[in-house]
Symmetry: D2
Subunit: 305 residues, 4 copies
């Protein structure tokens, strides 16, 4: 099994790919659409890309590649990773020597409070990625430092001047594993979908959410995004509890399909946290089977058409 | 085909039975449960009983007989009848001669305004039915008058002193036709059901109604009634648009069945007014079939369990 | 304080009136609209009428008198009463002597199972009320018996041949106390209203119920009834937890008022069972007051129009 | 009036700031939090930052700065801007000469299809911003080209090799204008808010959306985002029609405030498209005023507590 991931080496995505598939061959690719395409065409078996809260800011690109791209690629797993930012510099550099800090434009503000206290005089400069910032520091003049993952230090021969310098604890990025098929249910699953609401119909979003709520299906994420046609035309990305083969999820998906312009299931897969989904009796498999039997009994009293 | 109805002869129910089944043999029975039982046991093929807004006040008895009685009897049709009240007296009686007016206790207040103007000094007395009041008038002393259907006059040799004396125009009673099977769909159908909510679960009624509303199924009637266990424990009688074999109705019924303690379909039958039910595209048969095909296509990408 | 009630003496309503106002002067009146009018005009201070599950079948008349009658009369209390049916006959009559049983047309079917076992050969005959049936038995030939409240026996010199013969235990009737004003809140209150939905607007009933559900207001009763204009035009009677001066009830009523053709509050009054209404934090008085303060703080940042 | 914006000069944000405030003094600042802080502290009067679909990918930083930052800054306006990407190179460079294309990591994939056709052999390289890519091209070796706004060409003495090369037409970015107060209503307004749902309460999001839907308030955007505490704890950003002083919006906000852990209004401001919000009768100012009068009339019949 071969695994492509959003490169370069040394990013948080590389680390997620290693966790997801420790023994497989890994292929870094330059962009998220490249990873998605490599999976679709069969060039690789799996892909790993960030999808949420990435320091690299790649979420939207991933969502768009899955929602608007060619069919045939599905999310088949997820992996969350704690994001700890370290201040990296060439060996021998002291904190007091740092005059400029480089990182991804989204990483800098995440450490702003720490920087204001520890390095009040340092200039802040943007780099294309946290890995690229570390490379620039390794190749650059003294006084440069980078904000990025601590393990980039080993790879590039840098020193960690300070670790865990992000302002907010508990920062994590969620990565998804892509493939050409979706796995069977485990009891601890989730389903990702994107809903295109079509013509401006007030209340249609409520209808979609109601179809899920009525069946006791919890949302773990909802996000409206432009459809790339014009600002104001939206699609809705939804992550929901359960597997598409669960009776309640299957019926909810078919119902949403009837209401909206288009429904695309991005994937059904085991939850990264392994938490089993609690389903109340009325929405469980037994209740669905019982209702079907009851209804068949009723039909026996109806004349044929 | 034999037809039982709530007697005696000469009531509004008898007239409804004649409209429903003009050429069949008609059997008046003394109580509504008697009619229901006659259908259930096969003693007759059809039954006709009032179910709504009856001057005879029989609605609840009908609902209870269908909801709490033995299974095997279904509503298979309905017939609405305009209710016009006439003042009946023995021939030769003038309006000025009337000293006492008799009728069913629910019929008297429905003519109260007219009585206050036309017969301000007359005493009002209750009778067991409008037909019985007319019989008492036919057999009684002069000065008596009855409020009831005008055609009782012919049958009993009475005169119509005044017609259409009810305070509210447009008064109608709805009757239902009972049988042991339900007819096939006509496109202009309705479905009657009773829902037992079970343990006190706030919001459960909303869930039931939402299952109908989400599928575009209109209610034409809703009524909570005690379950005869204790005041405060309720069941809900609902009349809804559509036939049980319509995809949207079938799915709504199965869904409600999962939520509630008990769901009993009282019948599915052509609407008395013949109005075809308008179904929007998302809730029509094509949309259901399309959603099923789409979902099957999705499942082809999911690994077997 | 003078109290009118639906007579005659000896009915269950008379007993309810005695419980509601033990020491006051009581006035039996022949019809429910008469009681309502006596309160409205100030002829009496209070009225007591049955409103639900009455053996006398008077519910609809009461609802209609309150919903469609002249304004100025409100429900200000309620009283539930267990309904026990006794078989009454002249002293010296044995069960085996009974050849005919008389009662209100709704009382007879409620004892049908007992009658089928104990008096399989007896004829059943309708009377205008349970009290009137007992009077007819007292004045009639031997072999007659009446189904009615046991305490009618004392009043009329009858014997109780059997007591508690109704088929269903736990049968109760709820009576309401009418007045020209509504009482202040007690913490254990309910509010009765009638909603006229106006033009055929699918989903409007759901909107009304949602306005209550969103504020955590439970329904204890819901019933659609024709508006007396034409079959198919409905109004909805709703009993809900809480007093009109509770913030959540006040806001719900104002909201419903905006949606519907007409909203009429029939009364706000202490619950007969004395159960305090449990309100979750988000719908309590503190939450409403806190939200109002928060919003005023926000407005301080908005430029004046 | 002084206006800060997310720099550097030459970006799309600078252009938006010029449209919003053509004649005022403009101050470019390096990060979005810097702009927000400058407004909060009074260093400037207005701030302009991208909030949606920005090629610069700055949305989340803006949302977070407004949602999690110190209070005192509000959105008081918005400005949409079409995003057209041009290929920029040093004068004299032909398309056939281009061997490497640089741009922001989110801009490259947005032109992927054009690049694959027009420059199949060119290397793609990430830069910190579109403006920075253009600067690198101006200072770099021949054969370099940048994807960015065409007007950067003039500023840096570059040539436009191709214009409008983005794969999707109709691409726009929405910018918001920040201030310390919010403007009065115009009739064509919107309100931005963030809702913190608090403890895991399934259905709470539905409640929030229902409070808006019941009052006919359309959503133009909804997005769940981690609260920076831990993955899985979410807040919801919502843009809704109407101004906070509209009766329906005011009541909806107070209602949501009661349900959720925290509600923060990010701003109320004129819609960029100037479309007046259509409000149906039941949710308009007259309906609210009428309901208040009706309810006061009802209270006159309730005894004081």
């Amino acid at each position: 099994v071969s695994v492509a991931y959003l490169g370069p080496e040394g990013t948080f995505t590389a680390r997620a790919a290693a966790l997801v598939a420790p023994t497989e061959a890994h292929v870094p690719l330059p962009t998220i659409p490249d990873v998605v395409d490599a999976v679709r065409t069969g060039a690789v078996d799996r892909g790993v890309v960030p999808i949420e809260n990435s320091i690299e800011g790649a979420v939207n690109v991933t969502l768009d590649a899955l929602a608007f791209g060619e069919p045939g690629v599905f999310i088949r797993g997820e992996q969350a990773l704690p994001i700890a930012m370290a201040l990296l510099a060439r060996p021998g550099t002291a904190l007091a020597d740092v005059t400029e800090v480089r990182s991804h434009p989204m990483a800098l503000p995440q450490c702003r409070r720490w920087l204001a206290v520890a390095l009040p005089g340092a200039a802040l400069a943007a780099a294309a990625s946290t890995a690229r910032a570390a490379e620039e520091v390794a190749a650059g003049p003294p006084g440069l430092a980078a904000l990025g993952p601590a393990d980039a230090a080993d790879r590039l021969g840098l020193a960690v001047l300070a670790d865990d310098v992000q302002d907010h604890d508990g920062n994590e990025t969620r990565f998804v594993v892509l493939g050409r098929r979706m796995p069977a249910p485990t009891g601890a699953d989730k389903t990702s979908m994107v809903v295109f609401l079509g013509a401006d119909r007030p209340g249609l979003l409520m209808t979609v959410l109601d179809e899920l709520a009525l069946r006791g299906i919890n949302l773990t994420k909802i996000e409206s995004r432009p459809t790339k046609q014009a600002l104001g035309e939206y699609c809705i990305f939804i992550d929901a509890d359960g597997h598409v083969t669960d009776a309640r999820v299957a019926e909810a998906l078919r119902s949403i399909h009837r209401h909206v312009a288009e429904l695309k299931v991005l994937g059904t897969y085991p939850r990264g946290d392994g938490h089993h989904v609690r389903v109340d009796v009325a929405n469980g498999e037994h209740a669905y089977a019982g209702a079907a039997r009851w209804f068949d009994g009723l039909l026996a009293h109806v004349d044929p058409a």
